[in-house]
């Protein structure tokens, strides 16, 4: 997966850091602003515009900081983290009396990595059964993640049952069943459309206990964190499961294309669902998911899994070093 980093900031930062000036992918019509902002060029549909010969930057100057700001903002770091990061780096540049953009690049990577590494990405699945509840807003990739995750766990020889507690969205159960089949996992379905999701979750855990199945994964309906009724429903699902068995992980799925709203999602789900870890999906697109830095820091929740595609194998663990490296391109 090493070369597969279409979400790298590198494209943007390359000129800045004098990485060869080969990927100046500034759209010709970039309005009023000289910084490129097209996605990293890996698999872009349109052939990247002919590389504009950019003089290699030899020293750090005002432009460097402007471009760095633009790069961080466009990666969804958000204005606050961007400001903080730049201040921090300015101080470091001063302290180490460097003028070399390559030093700056390294410091940026370290700074991002440091921030990410403060949180422990380990998944805790030691209980038997280990119950994993998957939550999130609509369309972020919960069901797909469950399919991939079930497959991942199956590859370790563990038995898995999936509970179809999204009894709301049309064809959600069928979609999950397709994934369960692909992953070789059992599935517990609602007995009828619109059945109380909590009771489906309950039955799934019950089924696991009765049959000695090691891992339970519960899919839930997508819900906007602002809808109190649906959020209450979710905490009920959680409570009902806990009557049967402790919950090992509550995973909140966040879509990498999300902007600053990701923070509000995380805060709300942490409060009502007791989230224990984050899954960042759709990192195979051009979005960078920089908002997770703010999310981790504000909520203390670690990113535990990464989704990078729609196929069953497109799920990986989260490694701060790799993530930071992919973002910054060092």
């Amino acid at each position: 997966m090493a070369e597969r980093t279409p979400w790298s900031l590198a494209g943007r930062l390359r000129n800045l850091f004098g990485g060869g000036g080969s990927t100046a992918d500034a759209p010709a019509e970039a309005p009023a602003d000289t910084s490129p902002d097209a996605p990293a060029p890996t698999t872009t549909l349109a052939p990247p515009p002919a590389p504009v010969p950019v003089p290699l930057k030899r020293v750090i100057d005002e432009d460097t900081w402007d471009e760095l700001e633009a790069a961080l903002i466009s990666a969804d770091f958000g204005p606050r983290i961007t400001e903080e990061t730049i201040e921090d780096l300015k101080a470091k540049v001063d302290r180490f009396r460097t003028t070399d953009p390559r030093d700056l690049q390294r410091m940026l990577r370290e700074s991002i990595e440091e921030r990410l590494a403060k949180f422990d990405p380990t998944l805790r699945l030691t209980e038997r059964p280990a119950v994993v509840l998957v939550v999130g807003v609509n369309g972020v990739g919960k069901t797909t993640t469950i399919g991939k995750f079930a497959n991942f766990v199956r590859n370790y020889g563990r038995s898995v049952v999936i509970g179809a507690a999204d009894t709301f969205r049309a064809a959600a159960v069928e979609q999950l069943a397709t994934w369960a089949e692909r992953a070789g996992a059992e599935i517990v379905r609602p007995q009828h459309q619109g059945q109380d999701p909590a009771s489906v979750a309950f039955q799934t855990v019950e089924h696991a206990k009765r049959n000695g199945i090691e891992i339970v994964i519960i899919d839930t309906a997508g819900r906007l964190h602002t809808k109190s009724g649906l959020m209450d429903e979710m905490s009920k699902i959680k409570r009902v499961i806990e009557k049967q068995a402790p919950i090992a992980e509550v995973l909140l799925v966040l879509d990498a294309t999300t902007g600053q709203n990701g923070l509000l999602q995380a805060e709300a789900f942490l409060e009502t669902a007791g989230v224990t870890g984050l899954v960042l999906t759709k990192l195979d697109g051009s979005a960078k998911g920089g908002f997770v830095l703010a999310v981790q820091e504000r909520t203390g929740l670690p990113v535990k899994l990464i989704g990078q595609g729609e196929r069953i194998g497109d799920l990986t663990g989260f490694t701060p070093h790799v993530f930071a490296q992919n973002l910054v391109g060092v």
Binding site: P6, A30, P31, A32, D33, D37, A38, P39, T42, T43, T44, L45, A46, A70, I73, S74, A75, D76, G78, P79, V137, N138, G139, V140, G141, T143, G147, R169, A170, A171, A172, E174, Q175, T178, W179, L224, H225, T226, K227, S228, D255, A256, T257, T258, G259, Q260, N261, G262, L263, L264, Q265, E267, K282, D284, G285, S286, A287, K288, R298, E310
Partner: protein, 519 residues
């Protein structure tokens, strides 16, 4: 919520800072523009768009400054608002129908944007408009997308053309093409093609979308985008524009608390209008897009000024001061209470008023719990009291309460509650009048709309006395904040307050305003 609370705060503060000046200096303009820039970035507006936007605002604001305009704060708000609306497309654009049916509409967008649900909503809406839409299941990628469309179609009462099972089986281009032919044969006048979600960077899938377009020659290609999307909106929109090109945009999941800066970016960068907004999971949660509403949402300014003006018009400062005095001196009676209530009613729909407040989205539930009939009931009870009782609630013993209950068609409990509420309110207002912050358990920030005193008695010129509109606006803001003379605040169903001193609204005033606005 916390993350964004600072935004309106800062903007309001930045604008309030202009108030004393009466005129804008270039430095004022820069300071304000900086806050606007930050506000837009926190709302996920694309950085390039932010730069363009703030440059435009700055230029116009400087012009205003140079022309020595007297009301800078208002002018800046106006400029910002105008610019936002114009980028968002100004006028609302309608769906284009083909001269020779069927009209073909193709949906395209990222994974999870909400295309399939939207297809159902559009079908339902079109049916309501007298059309006979056909839904075509051309998302053969995502597991059971076909099934989902079939269910959604059934709910919408529309026919679904689904010749292929999906889950990777079948050719979407073929299905789309056949779908149009099927529609012609069966006299469907609109064809809605649901397609698989795809990434802008996925060359194969983008080509497939382009092929679907070529094969079906749609009258509209709608780019469906999640309101919660961040900076990637532009890269993705550009990729879709180059790949398939689209004629319009649909913004989904607007029922959340996303500020929707992406809308601005996409409209600005692609020049394509936003046509519809999707606002919930039910098929009827769907409406034509309103640029002006989106503009206030992005900046989260709400109609502060309109609101303040209305409140201003409804109340009179002199009266307010009198009532404030009454509070302070403990001579506020049930009669005054009733009068206050009635003035509130005069202000028109309270819900509508509150609905105009920024941040009111988060208070929808509280709003729904707020019952204007409450005022009518209160009125009935107080009107069944004797003047003496109204002036001195201590007279209200058990038998009097029973009589009042009978006379007003309420229960004794209702009467008891009213008296209790009155006492609480009077106590609270006394505190407010003395400058303290009320502590009222169980009372949300809402039912207030609590601006100030009394209905304006046919005053020729509306609003504050200040001849300087900027000063007036700032004063009004401070009034709403509840600390300044002769204003008030509080959480009950009427206004009031007092205190003394003129001057600029302090930080706390503005914070209080925010709190009042439901933060």
């Amino acid at each position: 919520m916390a993350t964004f609370a600072s935004l309106s705060d800062r903007l309001t503060a930045a604008l309030a800072n202009l108030r004393n000046k009466g005129r804008l200096s270039p430095a004022d303009v820069d300071a304000t523009v900086r806050e606007i820039r930050r506000a837009l970035l926190e709302a996920d507006v694309n950085l390039d768009v932010v730069k363009q936007f703030t440059a435009a605002v700055r230029e116009r604001a400087l012009e205003a400054a140079a022309s020595q305009a007297l009301n800078p704060a208002q002018q800046v708000v106006q400029i910002v608002n105008d610019e936002l609306i114009s980028i968002l497309g100004g006028q609302q654009r309608r769906l284009a129908f083909a001269k020779n049916p069927p009209t073909v509409i193709m949906l395209a967008g990222l994974q999870g944007a909400g295309k399939t649900t939207l297809a159902g909503k559009l079908a339902r809406w079109l049916t309501g408009e007298g059309h006979r839409p056909l839904l075509v299941a051309a998302d053969l990628q995502r597991p059971n997308a076909v099934t989902q469309l079939q269910i959604v179609g059934e709910q919408a009462g529309a026919t679904v053309y689904a010749p292929e099972p999906g889950n990777g089986v079948g050719d979407p281009v073929r299905v789309a093409e056949d779908g149009v032919r099927y529609a012609i044969d069966r006299q469907h006048d609109v064809v809605l093609i649901d397609t698989a979600g795809r990434l802008g960077v996925d060359a194969d899938m983008m080509k497939q979308a382009a092929d679907i377009r070529k094969a079906t020659e749609p009258d509209e290609v709608l780019f469906v985008i999640d309101a919660m999307i961040g900076q990637d909106a532009v890269a993705t929109a550009r990729a879709f524009q180059e790949g398939v090109d689209f004629t319009g945009v649909v913004l989904t999941k607007l029922d959340g608390d996303a500020r929707g800066g992406a809308a601005l970016s996409v409209a600005s960068v692609t020049g394509r209008p936003i046509i519809f907004a999707s606002t919930g999971e039910r098929l009827e949660d769907f409406e034509p897009f309103h640029p002006d509403r989106m503009a206030s949402r992005i900046l989260d300014l709400g109609d502060i000024l309109t609101l303040i003006e209305q409140a201003q018009r409804a109340f009179d400062e002199e009266e307010a001061r009198k009532v404030a005095e009454k509070f302070a001196t403990d001579s506020f009676t049930l009669e005054d209470f009733l009068q206050q209530m009635q003035q509130l009613k005069n202000m028109g729909s309270i819900k509508k008023m509150i609905g105009m407040l920024p941040g009111a989205r988060g208070m929808r539930e509280q709003l729904d719990n707020f019952d204007e009939k409450e005022i009518v009931r209160t009125e009935a009870i107080i009107q069944s009291m004797t003047p003496a009782e109204r002036r001195n609630p201590k007279l209200l013993n058990g038998s009097r309460r029973l009589r009042i209950a009978r006379g007003s068609g309420m229960t004794v409990t209702d009467v008891n509650q009213l008296v209790q509420r009155f006492e609480q309110a009077a106590k609270m207002m006394k505190t407010v009048a003395k400058g303290g912050v009320p502590q009222v358990p169980g009372m949300g920030p809402v039912p207030g709309a609590s601006y100030r005193g009394k209905p304006q008695k046919k005053k020729a010129t509306g609003g504050s006395r200040s001849g300087n509109p900027a000063k007036r606006a700032a004063e009004n803001a401070a009034l709403a904040a509840g600390k300044k003379e002769p204003a008030s605040a509080g959480g009950s169903g009427f206004g009031l307050g007092g205190g003394a001193g003129k001057g600029a609204p302090s930080e706390e005033d503005l914070a209080a305003l925010q709190r009042l606005l439901g933060r």
